[in-house]
């Protein structure tokens, strides 16, 4: 168990409001990832980080931004939430090379945008 927590675990918000999801890890893993999971789509990568202040876009990054000011925290921000961003969001961490290393997933945040 890699000690990954996500907050909040559940959130309901209205269209147009900003939302920030937090991922916190205690394992000192270098790599951190944000995914969203939707029925019919599976898990899709939003953004990832390969070090403090080093981030890059994933497959579905439009409408999302991230920040990583310290190793243990990776924030995902929806600047102006839309109903299409209703989803379950998972944070994951990894120690090294994505090809062979385990990715450890947090428990998820269920976000509903009304």
């Amino acid at each position: 168990d890699a000690g990954i927590t996500q907050s909040p675990r559940h959130k309901v918000t209205e269209t147009g409001t900003p939302v920030t999801l937090r991922c916190h890890q205690t394992e000192n893993h270098r790599y951190m990832y944000w995914y969203r999971q939707d029925p019919g789509h599976g898990l899709r990568l939003i953004h990832y980080s390969y070090g403090v202040k080093d981030t890059d876009k994933g497959e579905v990054s439009d409408g999302y931004s991230v920040s990583r000011s310290k190793t243990e925290d990776f924030l995902l921000t929806l600047e102006s939430a839309t109903s299409s961003q209703t989803s379950v969001y998972f944070c994951a961490t990894g120690l090294g090379a994505v090809s062979t290393d385990t990715q450890y997933f947090g428990p998820g945040t269920r976000l509903t945008v009304l």
Binding site: F90, S99, Q103
Partner: protein, 116 residues
């Protein structure tokens, strides 16, 4: 674009039966991982296969990576109710993250129900 196709999407069988789940792609992956996810939780890694043709066993679960590293299969022998869950395959195309869209590409998953 969904690069990894999993089949079947849903499978419900009786305890004691055998089953195979497939993960196929037209792309080559540097590795394939299989995860299992319980309701309300994040996925948990079961195995990583790296070499074409590689076979790994985890108790009653057998994982195989295709020779061309484009596909993989998960075979469960004598399924038990505790095997119930969502099984996800995920491929990595790069060796390291960084320098562009990366992370894992996931299939849509196979919902497996083992009835007592």
């Amino acid at each position: 674009t969904q690069l990894l196709e999993q089949s079947p999407q849903f499978l419900s069988i009786q305890e004691g039966e055998n089953l195979t789940v497939y993960c196929n792609s037209s792309s080559v992956f540097s590795s394939l991982q299989w995860y299992r996810q319980e309701p309300g939780e994040g996925p948990v890694l079961l195995v990583t296969v790296v070499t074409g043709g590689e076979v790994k066993k985890l108790k009653r679960l057998t994982f195989q990576f295709g020779d061309a590293r484009k596909d993989s299969s998960l075979h469960i022998t004598a399924a038990q109710p505790g095997d119930t869950g969502l099984y996800l395959c995920a491929g990595a195309r790069r060796m390291y993250s960084g320098g562009g869209a990366d992370g894992l590409t996931f299939g849509k998953g196979t919902h497996l129900i083992i009835q007592p």
